[in-house]
Every structure is written in structure tokens, then in C-alpha cells.
Amino acid sequence: MAELIIDTKKCIGCGLCIKSCAYNALSLANKKAVVDDDCVFCGSCIKSCPVEAIWIEREIVEIKDLTNYKDIWVLIEEDRDEILPVSYELLTKGRELAAEKKCDVNALILGNNIQKKFENIFEFGANKIYYFEGSEFNEKLDEVFIEYLDYVCKVYNPEIFLFGATGFGRSIAPKLAARLNTGLTADCTILSIDDNGLLKQTRPAFGGNLMATIICPNHRPQMATVRSGVMKAYKVIDKNRRKELINIEAIKLQNKKTELIERIIEEKTKSISDAEIIVSVGKGIGSQKNIEIVQKFADLLGAEIGVSRPLVDIGWAGYEKQIGQTGSVIAPKLLIALGISGAIQHLAGISGAQTIIAINTDPEASIFSVADYKVVGDCIEILKGVINKLTV
């Protein structure tokens, strides 16, 4: 068991550690910091303490012999007979990690009609492809995949296993992690190898407001999921590379507990998530009447309107227009933010925008911290001027 130690002799009761704790686990008692059970031992407070009064004592764990575990594995995911881009992105990343670890990148593909895809999988960096061909995977049911994954992990001892953070990946990966009693880090945005050869996994938490770096030192495989588009994919021309195909054994599945009745493909309806130009409005537009002016402006640009959460809360706009962590995540070419202060939940939803023009009366508004162009002023007055200019 790990323990967060606070040296009460050293502690000066300054409270910096309390402020630094993202988990609300610290408080002051008798002018000294104390820790409660919400602590996850992330170490933020250690860094914050001006007098070095805090440290973590971790129980010395018996070092297991983990040398049997090797290679980086990637689960290849398909949709409608096409390999998903995220799988290629993982192969590319895997290759980079493998170069550092001097090991192989192995792809696991379970599906129907997969032979024609091998070439591509190799091109994106796999050394070996483990595959099983069969129609039982078409339904994409967890309980079919889990048995194969479990088998592969137990027979081949992967050191690292990467999954796409797709709806499917986010369901099967934790199930597998629990089956193998190992660690899993979801939605990693940075993967690297540390000095001890461990996978360093960095992921956003608190709606993207905080990044956490996580390791899995004593359990194998080290598992991670990565969202689509976060990593880059590119092919390698490497003719000398050893390429191997391994057909894995069929596994008998007994008494299935889930059954797919129907699977419906729906093309996404046009929403602000897909819009190229977005005009977003916040409370700073002053009054509900001003939305008309914004609409006029948006029509002129062929833009969609998005709003910050307070506007939805007060009923000026519907939820479908809300941008941010609890609304839509957007990635337009141009975002014009009007009277938006930029609560971090909101900023989490707009980080994909290519160009952001922000107009706000408050020069300190946090929206400016992510904007490309900062305009301090009354957004409605300026907007009227811009409308005039663009219509001329």
C-alpha cells in the first residue's frame, strides 16, 4: 500500500498543496495539511510544497520476472470491411516505440475476408500478423473477441497492447484488462518509453483540464487505448523487414450470453461537430435579442451557430448547439467566439478549431488563451460593423 506522508514538523500550513490537489484529498487540520482517502498518489502536492514536507512511500513490491513478455501488439479494428485509420495510427506509433525497445510490432486481426488487408498492415509497420479468419467476428460482440484476445495474451505474452479508443475498443479493452488483471490507460494522447523500458502513458482527465502520466510497472501487458486522429499514420518502405503471418487456433465459444439482433449504420446528421465555420456565442452577447444579429452574421458566412453552456442553461439555445465537454466537440476551420469567457469545459470542446477569433469585453477572458486573434470590445457592436463590411 502506498502512503502519502506529510511531515508535520516541516509543514507550515501554507495550503498550497490543498490548492494543488485535483482530487480534493487534502485539507488543513490544526494548521497542518492532512490527506484523506481520495488521494491517488499523483504527486502534484509534492511538487507544490515549498518546504518539501510531503512525499510518497510506496510499499516495496516484489519485482516480478516480466522478461517473458515481449513485443508491442496492436488490435486491428475493421468497420464494414475496412481497417479503421486508428489501427494504422497505432501501428505507426507502435513501430516508433518498438524501435526504442528493439522489439517487434505485432498486429492481431480477427475477421472475415482479411487476407487482402495484410499488405497494408505490413506497410504500416507490422512485423507479424496474427490472424484468425471467420464470420463470427462480423457481429463485433465483445464476448467473441475477448476469448481470442485472452488466448493470444496467455500464449504469446505481449508486453504492450494498444487498442483504438473506439466505441468497440473502449468496451473490449477494459474487459480484457480485468480478465488479465492488468492495467489499462484510456484515451492516451502521448505514448513513450521511459528509462526502465516501461510504457509512459499520458492522458487527459477532468475533461481535458489536467493531464496525467501513468505507468503500469508490474503487470503485463501494459494496455492503452488511443483516440482516432491523435497519432499520425504513415507507411514505411522497409524491404528487409521480416514479415510473418501466423494463423492462430480456433477457439470454442460456449454458451454465448449476448446476441446481436440488428446493427444499423447511420450517417451522421449535419451538426456543429462537422461544421467548417462556426460562430459561437456566450453570455457576453448581453441579451437574447442579439442572437438575431448573430444569426444574420452566421447566414452571411454560411456558418453554424454554437453556444456556451450558460446560454443553454438559461434557455436561449437548445442543447444541440452547446459546445464543450458536455456538448459537442468541434473542429472547424474558423471559429468566431463572441462574448465567450472560455470556461475550461468550453475550451475542451474547441481545441480542434484551426483559427479562432475571439471577441470579448474582458481582456482577461480565458478564451483569449486559446485564440489566434484577440479582440477586446463589445462583440455585438463589432459584429454589426463586420456585417456591414462583408455585405458591401
Binding site: N209, K257, Q325
Partner: protein, 266 residues
């Protein structure tokens, strides 16, 4: 039918700022609330109870103060609640949490359905549901947007996929995780609030849960957080200064430029 809803206490806001002077993190939240996703889980359980009768039990792991949100869950219609609370549970990652919750469910006995919110807004992992199911060796469905049919031993759900949805039938007992807006959570009633003050609230510690000490808390957690930091934002914005007309001109030009370039790209 016995239904367990897993709930988590989270900070009321997940805003985190960096103190520029001390370079440390400042939390904006001053209150603890029930994880917003879990409200939909509670409502879904109550809806099933409305139709099939039975018992809805709110289950959480956390510090003793979590009692408050469990009482809140009971004010909405949960019949009782169980809190797994022990210093030894502290520092648990998702796997250790799932194991600990599974002990609670075994204690409750004969549970047919476990409902979790899709994810918690502080951790954002969405792992507890599947890990809990696997720990209990039962099936699960994530991202459920509708329960189409449910009986004592079978459930049919609509599950949201990345590009549509699936209708899946599953044998009970099982775990589902529900998406936001699967329902409209009801508000507590006066009798609900009054009942919740004295409703059964049970605290289970590690010993009573017969926990394997190697599978709980930080000891039972394969993963370790070794660092947390505030993500870097983009570089400083270009400030457009001058009088209003200058600002208007500048903005107009940028818009024209971007839109024009956009057309060429396409």
C-alpha cells in the same frame, strides 16, 4: 428484480487552473456532487423498478462523506445504499475499484442488473463498467441509449456505436453503462426526501467485504499516476488593437481570407 446503480462522487466542476505564480494547480470546484452520468443510471433503474417491481440499491466506493450523494440518490427513489469505505481502498485505479465494487455487489447478493453511467467526469475513463462485469464474470453492454425490453433473465438494449447503433440481447445478470440523455431524470418528491433521511445506508469496510488485500487500493492497482500537469495551450493570440473601425476591418479581412482559402482547398 434487484438492480444496483454504481454512483461516484465528483467535484462540482472539473475546471482546473494553473496558478501562474506558484505553478501549481488550482481547483475551481467547491462542492462535491453526484457524477452527472450516474443520474441517468439511477433514473433508468427506477424506470425498470416502476415496471417490474423490485429493489434499487445505490452503490459507491469513497470517503464517508459520500453518504450525502447516496442519500440524494435515495431521495430520488433508490431503496437503500451501500458505501464501500476504508482507508485501504484509497488510491485505487479502475481495476482495483471494479474489484472493490464487485465485493459490494456480492454482499448485496442476487443482483440481476448493474447500471453504471458511461463515465465519470473527473477520470473520464469509462472503464469501470466493463471491468466490473469481467470481475463478476458476467456480460456487459456499454453506451446503452435505450432499454428496449427487460425481463427477469434477459435484457435487450440499443447500444450507440461510432457510426450508428446496435440492438443487442443479453442474458442477466449483466452490467450496462448508459449514455447521457437516455432518459429525463426525475426530481425528488417530498416523501422521497423525507424517506431518504432515515433510509438504510450501510458502510462496508475492507474486512467486512472480505477483500483480498492485494487487489484493493493502491496495492491492487496495476497502474500508477506518476505525474499530473496542466496541458499547454496554444501560443499567445495576436491582439487586434485600435478603434472599433480598425477592429472591424481586421476581422473582416481575416474572415475573407480564411473563407477564400477554404474555397481553393476544396
Amino acid at each position: 428484480m434487484k438492480i444496483v446503480v454504481c454512483v461516484k462522487q465528483v467535484p462540482s466542476s472539473n475546471e482546473v487552473k494553473l496558478d501562474p505564480k506558484t505553478n501549481t494547480i488550482i481547483r475551481e470546484a467547491d462542492k462535491s456532487v453526484i457524477n452527472p452520468y450516474d443520474k441517468f443510471a439511477i433514473e433508468e433503474a427506477l424506470k425498470i423498478k416502476d415496471n417490474l417491481k423490485g429493489e434499487v440499491i445505490a452503490l459507491s466506493m469513497g470517503i464517508p462523506a459520500t453518504e450525502k450523494i447516496l442519500r440524494d440518490a435515495m431521495s430520488r427513489g433508490c431503496d437503500r445504499s451501500v458505501l464501500l469505505s476504508d482507508k485501504k481502498f484509497a488510491g485505487a485505479d479502475t481495476l482495483a475499484t471494479a474489484y472493490t465494487l464487485s465485493l459490494g455487489i456480492k454482499k448485496i447478493k442476487n443482483v440481476s442488473l448493474i447500471i453504471c453511467g458511461k463515465m465519470a467526469i473527473d477520470g473520464d475513463t469509462a472503464q469501470i463498467g466493463p471491468e466490473l462485469a469481467e470481475t463478476l464474470k458476467i456480460p456487459h453492454i456499454t453506451d446503452v441509449s435505450e432499454i428496449i425490453k427487460i425481463s427477469e433473465n434477459e435484457i435487450t438494449c440499443r447500444k450507440i456505436n461510432d457510426n450508428g447503433y446496435s440492438i443487442i440481447k443479453m442474458v442477466l445478470p449483466a452490467v450496462i453503462t448508459v449514455v447521457k440523455d437516455i432518459n429525463l431524470p426525475r426530481l425528488p418528491t417530498i416523501p422521497g426526501v423525507l424517506k431518504s433521511i432515515h433510509a438504510s445506508f450501510e458502510i462496508i469496510n475492507a474486512h467486512n467485504a472480505t477483500a483480498n488485500i492485494n487487489r484493493i487500493g493502491s496495492t491492487g492497482s496495476p497502474t500508477q499516476v506518476i505525474d499530473t500537469f496542466i496541458p499547454e495551450r496554444k501560443n499567445v493570440a495576436i491582439e487586434i488593437e485600435g478603434d472599433i473601425d480598425k477592429k472591424i476591418d481586421f476581422i473582416g479581412d481575416i474572415i475573407k481570407e480564411i473563407m477564400y482559402n477554404g474555397r481553393i482547398d476544396n
